[in-house]
Every structure is written in structure tokens, then in C-alpha cells.
Symmetry: C2
Subunit: 150 residues, 2 copies
Amino acid sequence: MADYTIRRAQRDDVGAIVRMLADDQLGATRDDPRDLDPYLRAFDEIDADPNQYLVVVVSDGEPVGTLQLTIIPGLARRGALRGQIEAVRIHADHRGSGLGADLVRWAIDESRRRGCALVQLTSDVSRTDAHRFYERIGFVPSHTGFKLKF
Amino acid sequence: MADYTIRRAQRDDVGAIVRMLADDQLGATRDDPRDLDPYLRAFDEIDADPNQYLVVVVSDGEPVGTLQLTIIPGLARRGALRGQIEAVRIHADHRGSGLGADLVRWAIDESRRRGCALVQLTSDVSRTDAHRFYERIGFVPSHTGFKLKF
């Protein structure tokens, strides 16, 4: 990890992040880096919210990995905070390097630092490689994730 | 639904909500309504956050159902907002009445009103009755939900 830096994303990183979102078996049909306006609006909302951390891993000045961590307060589990990870992507040229595990471990450590009782995420049932990856890191596939799209 | 009102939870509702969280096959070991202090602190944090809606269904002046809706901004799906439902509980005396479906539909409608592109939730794999309930409402079990507890 000597060559990588994990830091909060800046507005200038949005193009690189969206290219990673779109370069994905599922994201290819959902995301399009040619029109960044909706993404920049979303970035501003994320960046203004102290419970949102959009982060990038930077190598040679370029974002090569990203995830979003959301801190969610709740009453359950004696008023526990939970950390939630979404939109994990690693640039194709940097996969298999351990970078993804380091990035997810950053989110776990940040959640612990913020006082969360747990970290959660969902992964499409078709992403079987990702499931093995999360289990190696210590996640337990204890839940079914439901979505209802409009 | 003529006898029920769905409204934002108030501080005075916290005791009734925690009793519902604890009266549950999984929550019984995790929640304890005898010490409300940590729950009241969490309530204040939820109540101050415009992206959190802790709601109750009230019947005869008493909360008999609850859920928490969180609106999460993100870059994926062209900067889509997503609604996330957590901590759905219906008082034992009011189950099977359609109240749970009405409450979840309230969260779906509110998410749509806020401009979300989807609504998501996870449910413990042991809650098979709940899974059928969510599928009847239109949710698709497309994801695996992973948790890492500290």
C-alpha cells in the first residue's frame, strides 16, 4: 500500500469515480460518464453531509478505487450507529492487488472510530467473487437484501 | 386504516418503540427498554437529521408500529437518492392486520416523493415470513446482506 493514498473525494474526482461505476458488469447499463451534471449535484449533497464519506484511493495522482461510507444513527441495538458501505469499485488495472481489501478495511476502521456497533453492505447475488472477498474480510452473509426500483 | 395514524416519532414515543424492538425473536437479546438513556440520545441524533424519518403508527394514542427511513445520496445510478428502511416492528397485538404493509407503503411513497430511484432494506435470513411479506409488496430479493459486528 506504499503507493496508494486513501482520502476524501473532491469534486475533481467525480469523472474518474463515474468511469469506475460504469466500468462494471451491472453499472454499465446504469451509469454514463459523458454527462457529469447529475453526478456533480449528487457529489455536492454527499460532501455537505457529515454522515457521508465518499472516498477514493489515489495512485500516481489518479483515483483507482472508491467507496461510499454512510454513518446511520438508529434506536435498535441500544441506540447504535451503523456504518454502511456502498458503491465499492476498483479500477480494472488495479484489481487483485489487495487494494480493495485495504479500502474496505479503511471503512471498517473509520466506522469503529465513529463509534459504530457494526458495518453493513449488500452485494448483488450475481457477484459471487465479491461475496468470497467480503467473507474473507470478516463479513457474515446473515441477511437477504431486498430492492424495490421505481 | 381508519383507526391508525402514521406520523413522525416524538421523544415521548421512544419507550414504546424500544419495547417493540425488544419484543422480537432477534431483538430480545439486543435491546432493553429499562434504560432509555442511550435510545434518547440516538433519538435526538435521528430527529436532527433531515435525511432520517423515524415514524410510528399510532392507534388509540399508543405507538403500535414503527420503522426508520433513511434517504441516502449517492453517485451510482446517475446520482440517485435511495430510501432505506430499517427497524420495522409491529406490536404483537396488531400483526396480521395489514398495518405493516401500510407502514412500508408509506415509506415507499415518501421515498418516491423525495425523488429516490429505489427503496432498499435487508432482513435476517431467518425471518422467512418477513421475506414473503416484502415480496408481496414488490421487493425483489436481489442482494446478499453482509454484516460485520464489532
